[in-house]
């Protein structure tokens, strides 16, 4: 699903954000990407969904080398990827329904189909009664659930979540993680970037730890350390 080969990312003259990163995430996996702030977790996710190009190295997503991808092909690659952010990135002047509908509208789906899928997705995250509300009238947990609904509404093969529970209390964190695990159970590959050690301890998943832009460890050892 995702393969990185000796990937580097450097911003100007600063120390590299990523340095010689090689890893593989297989189809159907649920992977935590962890490490302290500045370790390179968000940068790695950005490279995977082509928000930024790698400075060196090769990145394959769905078998496609995104280091060489044409700009005009990026939107079509992104349509297979759902992304969830710590700050939700919802449009405040659109209703929850309209926010969740956006990925389907982008794909040119018919209005009836959009209504059906959005209703289904909102029911999946327990927000069907909030469809007509604007994001700022929702609690943080509800906003993140709306963001998850938007990320999953088009059934992406890959879900990337960058600190999805960073702004949530424990109960809301449990809710959002349940949604991500549910998506994974239905076949979506999930990569969650987090520095929340408690989260790693509660979920028995593969953990890739980054430190200073390098892969420090990959597997169960970090989970043991975390617990």
């Amino acid at each position: 699903m995702i393969q990185l080969f000796h990937v580097y990312k450097q911003y100007g003259a600063e120390a590299p954000a990523l340095s010689d990163v090689s890893l593989e995430v297989r189809k159907g996996e649920f992977v935590f990407l962890t490490g302290p702030s500045g370790a390179g977790k968000s940068t790695l996710l950005k490279l995977v969904f082509c928000a930024e190009p790698a400075s060196r190295g090769q990145i394959l997503v769905f078998g496609r080398n995104v280091s060489r991808i044409r700009a005009s092909s990026i939107p079509f690659l992104r349509r297979n990827i759902g992304v969830v952010f710590q700050d939700f990135k919802l449009l405040h002047d659109r209703t929850v329904f309209e926010n969740v509908a956006l990925p389907l509208e982008v794909r040119g789906q018919a209005p009836r189909e959009v209504r059906r899928k959005v209703a289904l997705s909102l029911r999946g995250v327990g927000l069907e009664h909030r469809a007509g509300k604007f994001p700022l009238s929702l609690s943080g947990g509800e906003q993140q659930r709306a963001a998850v609904a938007r990320a999953l509404v088009a059934d992406p093969a890959l879900l990337l979540a960058d600190e999805p529970t960073g702004n949530l209390d424990l109960d809301r964190t449990v809710e959002v993680m349940a949604l991500l695990e549910g998506a994974n159970a239905r076949g979506t590959t999930v990569v969650v970037a987090t520095h929340d050690r408690g989260l790693l301890a509660r979920h028995k998943k593969r953990i890739i730890a980054l430190e200073g832009g390098r892969v420090a460890s990959d597997g169960d050892s970090v989970r043991r350390a975390a617990s």
Binding site: P75, R79, K89, G108
Partner: protein, 295 residues
């Protein structure tokens, strides 16, 4: 493009216009001023050209004959050279009668003047001919037997035509400059809209929107602003032309037959509306292009 996609693009464009009334007003106002100025200049030129054409039709081509020339032969030759035109032989006596008539109350100053003082002439009335065609016809008529001089008002029509031709060139240049200036002004205004909606653009691109999907509503927005601005300018031009024409008719008898359609023909009005629409779309494309390249 499926209908629902087109409807979505238009709906998003109209929503955006409603959400940013100030920017919309500035963009529409700028396009209004540019189209109004262009239309004023174009209608003045068009009107002047119509008046010039009317003058050309009013003025006969007069071929003055040398003393002793055969008037009947000259007329026959003129009819051969200008088939289909009204050709008239004017004997000196008739010429003197017309001169007296044109002097009205002051005709007495011609008392004692012999008709033979005036040359015989052949007059051809050129209806529906342009100045260039009139000029060519006058040159041909100059070759009839006994022709001494040809007059078709060249002394004042030619400089007027040159003036109008230069006016048209200068006008085209000015309209070009005005269009570029307006496009830059409107695009800078619309950049504010694009900048204010950068989060929306970023999120749309994150969920897989193409540049065309992101840009479509902005272009439709520009199109609607252009159409609105130019439609208002056309309405203002029609109103102004109504007032201006009645004053012009009083001041200039030759403008009596000038109608509103002469000053503002349908083709000009359609061109102005289309020009405004193109200006709106071009301004949007300019502002969006700069943003999408950075996004």
């Amino acid at each position: 493009m499926p209908i629902h996609r087109a409807a979505l693009v238009v709906r998003r464009a109209v929503d955006a216009l409603r959400r940013g009334p100030f920017v919309t007003a500035v963009a529409v106002g700028t396009i209004f001023v540019a189209v109004l100025l262009t239309g004023l200049f174009a209608s003045l030129l068009t009107g002047a050209e119509r008046v010039l054409s009317a003058w050309v039709r009013e003025v006969p081509i007069s071929v003055y004959l040398a003393p002793g020339a055969d008037l009947a032969a000259a007329r026959a030759a003129a009819e051969r050279l200008a088939p289909g035109l009204s050709v008239e032989a004017v004997a000196p006596a008739e010429a003197l009668r017309r001169l007296r008539a044109s002097l009205g109350d002051q005709a007495a100053i011609l008392d004692g003047v012999e008709a033979e003082v005036l040359p015989a002439s052949v007059e051809a009335r050129a209806t529906n001919l342009s100045l260039a065609e009139t000029r060519a016809l006058a040159a041909r008529l100059g070759r009839i037997p006994g022709a001494a001089e040809v007059d078709y008002g060249a002394a004042w029509l030619e400089p007027l035509e040159t003036f109008l031709r230069r006016g048209r060139s200068v006008g085209l240049g000015l309209v070009g400059l005005l269009s570029v200036a307006t496009a830059v002004l409107v695009s800078n205004t619309l950049r504010l809209t694009v900048y204010a909606r950068r989060d929306e653009i970023e999120i749309m691109k994150l969920v897989g929107a193409t540049d065309a999907f992101v840009g479509g509503p902005f272009l439709v927005e520009g199109l609607l602003q252009g159409l609105l601005g130019s439609a208002l300018a056309v309405a203002a031009l029609l109103g102004t032309a109504g007032v201006f024409l009645s004053r012009l008719r009083e001041a200039l008898p030759l403008a009596a037959r000038l109608s509103r359609a002469d000053l503002l023909p349908l083709s000009l009005l359609a061109g102005l509306v289309a020009g405004g629409a193109v200006l709106g779309v071009a301004s949007s494309a300019l502002s969006l292009g700069r943003f999408l390249r950075r996004a």
